[in-house]
């Protein structure tokens, strides 16, 4: 299972309290994880990546294993520690604005 930590506003939309665990068939790319996340929580569609372009929204960031993965290709595999469930993928609302 892939562990995903959502920002507070998206936890509210998804009606979850803590991190979520989702099953993703390999290869566990960014796109595969987001596809599975949106399939499990359809209320999150359009909030992390644009409905039409499927691009990451500008003020959303992806962190894992102490690294910023935001600018990696959607088809890049996530770190092994995320794929194995040892480490979570952090979806973060960027610190911007008030």
């Amino acid at each position: 299972m892939i562990r995903v930590v959502l920002p507070a506003h998206l936890r509210t939309l998804a009606r979850v309290a803590g991190e979520v665990a989702i099953a993703v068939d390999p290869p566990t790319t960014h796109r595969a994880v987001l596809d599975a996340l949106e399939a499990n929580y359809p209320m999150l569609r359009g909030t992390i990546r644009d409905h039409i372009t499927q691009r990451r929204r500008p003020f959303v960031r992806f962190f894992a294993c102490g690294r910023d993965l935001s600018h990696e290709s959607p088809d890049t595999a996530l770190p092994e520690a995320v794929s194995s469930g040892d480490e979570p993928l952090l979806i973060v609302g960027a610190m911007a604005g008030g």
């Binding site: 920002p7 507070a8 506003h9 998206l10 939309l13 209320m43 569609r45 359009g46 909030t47 992390i48 644009d50 409905h51 039409i52 929204r57 003020f59 959303v60 609302g93 960027a94 911007a96 604005g97």
Partner: protein
């Protein structure tokens, strides 16, 4: 016993204010969607317990919420707003072509007759409609595809379609206003549109009387007289007696004819309300005095309504969607400020009192009169 429900959208959530018909004691519920911008929420005239809300965020985009119990509980609806054809470009602030990009829903206008049909005015300017209660949204692309579309430019707040007025006497007739393109009318249910800006004069554009390019802030209509429209433009308060085909200025003795909202009285078609703002560069009331101005003659002659409103050191704004009226026998008038106050008058504006004072900046105020 009858009562009113005031729906307030703010920079940090939505609030629902309720009272009985006396409008003296208020219950304040909220914030709903705490921390999110709620540009607008509005109830269905055909089913007052059916509400729709536009919830948005610079981080997480657009969400549409629906309530079927008057705002007690909410259900997240569809949020895919895809332009129906190749979006093309409009003009950017510097005059260069800029791709049409969806940003947010500014205004939700429920159908007068069907609780499942709602129009949505969005930024970048376009009109969408749902006929399934908000599950799916489809663009009425004839507006964006208007021959002038590539020349439209954003106003300071973005290129937003912020005003939708439905004609109660003609289901095919829809008015919209776009900053800063102007006013448009459809006579075929939104398929095709014509610019209705003749008579507008805007000093901030190269051709002051151009077909489009006017920063229309708001249009009001009294339902009993749908061919008469009132407009608060960037500068100038205007009136049309021919469904927007031509406009004439009715600013008269206003201390400033800059402002955002304009509203008609519930029972007197020639009684209208505006909130003068000092200027386009100083968005607060003249002299620090918050004054609603009322005309009982359809314009030109205006009187200041001040009883109960702050008359010194007041430097708030009242935004375009932040004024509304109820339809009780003694017409109630309501408005919200960027300082977070919502003021109400239960007697057509003679006396005012705050319902609440310290909400987040108020973006919109709508009122439902309940049986």
């Amino acid at each position: 016993m009858s009562g009113v429900r005031v729906l307030v959208g703010t920079r940090k959530g939505a609030f629902v204010l309720t009272s009985d018909a006396k409008r003296e004691r208020w219950d304040v519920a909220g914030p709903h969607f705490a921390g999110w911008e709620v540009y607008h929420l509005k109830g269905s005239p055909a089913d007052p317990n059916r509400l729709y809300a536009s919830q948005s965020s610079g981080w997480f985009g657009q969400i549409i919420q629906r309530s079927s119990d008057g705002g007690a509980t909410w259900e997240q609806m569809g949020n895919a707003f895809a332009y129906a054809s190749v979006p093309g470009t409009h003009q950017w602030y510097d005059g260069t072509p800029h791709p049409w990009e969806f940003a947010r829903v500014w205004h939700l206008e429920p159908s007068l007759t069907d609780p499942d049909t709602v129009y949505a005015g969005v930024e970048d300017a376009a009109l969408f409609r749902t006929i399934d209660g908000g599950a799916t949204w489809h663009e009425l692309a004839g507006l964006r595809e208007h021959s002038s579309g590539s020349s439209w430019q954003p106003g300071a707040g973005g290129m937003c379609l912020h005003t939708i007025v439905l004609d109660p006497s003609d289901a095919q007739r829809i008015y919209v206003a776009i900053s800063a393109a102007g006013a448009f009318r459809s006579d075929d249910g939104g398929l095709t549109w014509r610019a209705i800006n003749q008579g507008l004069r805007s000093e901030g554009i190269p051709d002051e009387t151009a077909e489009v390019g006017h920063c229309v802030h708001r249009i009001a209509m009294h339902p009993s007289r749908p061919n008469v429209l009132f407009m608060q433009k960037h500068w100038d308060v205007m009136r049309s007696d021919d469904a927007g085909d031509s406009w004439r200025e009715i600013s008269g003795n206003l201390p400033s004819d800059f402002g955002f909202p304009i509203q008609t009285h519930a029972h007197e078609p020639d009684t209208i309300y505006v909130v003068p703002i000092k200027s386009d560069s100083e968005h607060f009331p003249p002299d620090g005095k918050l004054r609603v101005y009322r005309s009982r003659t359809g314009g030109n002659e205006w009187e200041a309504l001040t009883n109960g409103l702050p008359q010194e050191n007041c430097y708030v704004n009242v935004l375009r969607d932040a004024m509304a009226v109820d339809t009780l026998d003694s017409c109630g008038v309501y408005f919200g400020t960027t300082g977070g106050a919502v003021y109400a008058s239960a007697d057509s504006g003679e006396r005012w009192a705050p319902i609440v004072r310290d909400l987040p900046a108020v973006l919109s105020v709508e009122v439902q009169t309940l049986p």
